[in-house]
């Protein structure tokens, strides 16, 4: 707001980016929709910076905010920016479990709880006793047993996968059976209740509001949920995408987290990209071009605006029998089931068959009430879900291509003898950057080799 007061920044609150305008190969502006009036607006610029976050909501349920979406990044991709490693989706182990079909989002409980909490399930499948009724010798502290060196502190992907495995084996707890216990009772005994509350009090409050249970008395129930997306628009070291003049910052780009983000590093990236990198790099680009030659009267703006209006018109005209949310939930189910923590060829191929079918159904049978000329939240959601419907396919294509277990996910065909994730550096030590070739066309893959000079890649082992 200091920059606003200084007149250097103008905030367009309640405006949504609808497309990127590319003129002669350079990003020269954006098309936005004013969410209050429905007005489609043109903004010309010498460079465009996207800081539009990740695409976790492709899965419908995630820890992301409800408005978080892929639209800006997806539009940039369709205008020529390469999309890198979209299948790298981090599934966080410590989230509050789903309560029912109308769940709208999932809430993350900080990972720090695993410093003191012990994760367990009943040894016997289908055990419906309350946690207090299950004696110590009938509990399976599966992370401690399986990974004695790391115990409850194994990385996110390992913790998530093992929780899923326990639940798949019928040992999940709670009403849905899709949860494991995170038990703080030993820590309370060791450090005292006051100390544990000092460390995690805010999390306990959040948990109790949602579940109605007090974690100091009853073990918390947790289950993995989609959290962070390491993939994103490809950028160079200057944070510029493959479209000159289009810069991408934060979770929207692919650059910093490899295939498995580590705790707290998203904040680091946000600060580094915005505070240190872009101020030092964008000037170089601006020095190389002749600024100010394009304005909003250029035909490309009109073209883009027409496409945006056409899309809005088609969404409003479909007048079908199903709500946007119904379609989003269905898409989320496909993604979660076939392109989640563990993936295999047959499942991914099924997803590649299901997604275009659902997309076709969406455009034919979606019901978007209201008009395009005022505040219409259904229309906003419909536009975002329409883009998720296209983007989801790219995630799956990338997942199918990467026939190795890498970072955050397990590819079932690529396991060690002990069923742990097995990497394949000989064949997959590259960034997969996808180039758009048209809707319903296979995108083309560009491989950016990963070169490691000072470290040696090796198989992870937490046993």
């Amino acid at each position: 707001m200091r920059q606003v007061a200084a007149g250097r920044v103008k905030i367009h609150a309640r405006s949504e980016i609808m497309d990127i305008v590319v003129v002669d190969g350079h990003a020269k502006g954006v098309i936005t929709r004013n969410l209050l009036t429905g007005q489609i607006e043109r903004h010309a610029a010498d460079a465009v910076i996207l800081a539009t976050g990740g695409y976790g909501n492709t899965y419908c349920l995630s820890t992301n905010a409800m408005g978080s979406n892929v639209t800006a990044a997806w539009r940039a991709y369709k205008r020529g920016a390469a999309y890198a490693n979209p299948c790298f989706v981090q599934i966080h182990p410590t989230c509050i479990p789903v309560h029912g079909e109308h769940q709208s989002k999932l809430t993350l409980m900080s990972e720090s709880l695993r410093n003191d909490g012990r994760v367990w399930v009943p040894k016997k499948a289908g055990d419906t006793r309350t946690p207090a009724e299950i004696p110590e010798n009938e509990r399976d502290y599966y992370l401690e047993n399986k990974y004695p060196r790391f115990g409850n502190l194994v990385p996110r992907d390992v913790a998530s996968r093992n929780a899923k495995e326990q639940c798949d084996n019928g040992k999940g707890v709670g009403k849905s059976g899709l949860a494991v216990y995170l038990d703080l009772s030993d820590a309370i005994e060791r450090s005292g209740e006051a100390e544990i509350v000092r460390r995690y009090g805010n999390l306990f409050e959040m948990y109790e509001k949602i579940t109605g249970e007090d974690p100091l008395k009853v073990p918390m129930r947790i289950y993995p949920a989609v959290h962070y997306t390491m993939g994103g628009l490809w950028v160079d070291y200057n944070l510029m995408s493959s479209v000159p003049g289009l810069f991408v910052l934060g979770e929207a780009n692919f650059s910093d987290h490899g295939a498995n983000r580590l705790g707290a590093s998203a904040l680091m990236q946000g600060l580094a990209d915005g505070y240190f990198v872009i101020p030092a790099t964008i000037g170089n680009y601006l020095a190389e071009i002749s600024p100010g030659k394009v304005d909003t009267s250029h035909s490309k703006f009109a073209e883009c605006e027409d496409e945006v209006k056409d899309k809005i018109g088609r969404l409003l005209a479909a007048n079908g029998k199903h709500t946007v949310n119904e379609f989003h939930r269905k898409l989320g189910q496909i993604m979660w089931n076939y392109c989640g923590m563990a993936r295999n060829r047959a499942g991914l191929e099924k997803a590649l068959y299901e997604i275009p079918k659902l997309r076709e159904e969406f455009w034919r049978d979606v019901n978007v009430p209201g008009s395009g000329d005022d505040l219409n939240q259904s229309l906003e959601r419909a536009g975002r879900v329409a883009d998720f419907m296209e983007f989801a396919e790219l995630i799956v294509i990338d997942a199918l291509n990467r026939n190795e277990s890498c970072g955050c996910h397990l590819r079932e065909e690529s396991q060690t003898a002990e069923n742990e994730a097995k990497r394949d550096d000989e064949h997959f030590s590259y960034v997969a950057a996808w180039e758009y070739k048209g809707l319903n066309e296979t995108p083309s893959l560009h491989k950016e080799p990963l070169v490691f000079e000072n470290i040696q890649l090796s198989q992870r082992n937490y046993k």
């Binding site: 905010a65 309560h99 029912g100 709208s104 409050e205 709500t323 009430p369 505040l375």
Partner: protein
């Protein structure tokens, strides 16, 4: 899990110029595990399929940190539960058959945009008037050379917990923004970095507050009671002290 049915009286208003009014709805069966906003989601799905326009309401993070959501629920900002945003309010706090009245936060400085959505840009204008430090921060070493006692740092952090939801204004009989402004003033006045501009800041923000149509504090303490982030009215006392200090 139990299921309850509620009678909802929801404020519907097409736009800022429309008069608006209450509309009655049956909630249909609501799981007590659902959040308040999920209850509205389900009602909206039903309205959509019935050809009616769904109820517009602001929301985003749905975990009490973004400050987008908020409505008066039976006369209480964000509902009656303590330290809770509307998205964190869960249906287990309601009784089967209960009538629930839902209306937007009301204040002269917050216009209704549509249904439960209000315009809180007045808060942005207050911050723009001086709720920041006018120089760029240096690197980490600069921070480390300025020792701040833990107790002071905690107070500043507590004040900075404000999410700008507007519940304090909606709950105040005078529609004052004193808690909101006091939180920002306190956060900056408590820290050495805020010191050089403290007089200028408080005068500028206070005068902007008045221009925007917010009222004055009448010591009702409704703001503190409704604040989802437990911002203390001590911050209003500090705001007043800063204001008096700035006059000399």
């Amino acid at each position: 899990m139990a299921t309850i049915n509620l009678k909802l009286k929801v404020w519907r208003q097409k736009n800022h110029n429309d008069n608006g009014g209450f509309q009655d709805y049956d909630s249909g069966p609501v799981s007590t595990d659902m959040s308040f906003l999920e209850m509205l989601d389900v009602l909206n799905e039903r309205l959509t399929l019935a050809g009616d326009e769904p109820i517009a309401f602001d929301h985003d993070c749905r975990e009490g940190i973004c400050g987008m959501c908020g409505a008066m629920v039976n006369g209480y900002a964000h509902g009656r539960e303590k330290s809770t945003t509307l998205c964190q309010l869960h249906m287990r706090h309601f009784k089967d058959g209960e009538t629930v009245v839902i209306e937007p936060f009301r204040a002269k400085a917050f216009g209704v945009i549509k249904d439960l959505i209000i315009d809180r840009s007045a808060f942005d204008h207050i911050i723009t008037a001086g709720g920041y430090i006018s120089i760029n921060t240096g690197g980490a070493p600069d921070g480390n050379t300025t020792a701040i006692p833990q107790e002071i740092a905690e107070k500043a952090l507590d004040a900075s917990a404000c999410i700008g939801c507007g519940a304090c204004v909606a709950a105040c009989p005078n529609a004052a923004a004193m808690l909101f402004t006091g939180a920002k003033i306190s956060q900056l006045a408590l820290l050495p970095q805020g010191n050089p501009e403290r007089a200028k800041r408080v005068k500028s923000m206070m005068s902007r507050m008045g221009e925007l149509g917010f009222g004055n504090c009448g010591n009702e303490r409704e703001c503190e009671a409704s604040c989802p982030k437990n911002i203390s009215i001590r911050n209003i006392a500090r705001l007043n002290r800063e204001f008096i200090r700035a006059a000399f």
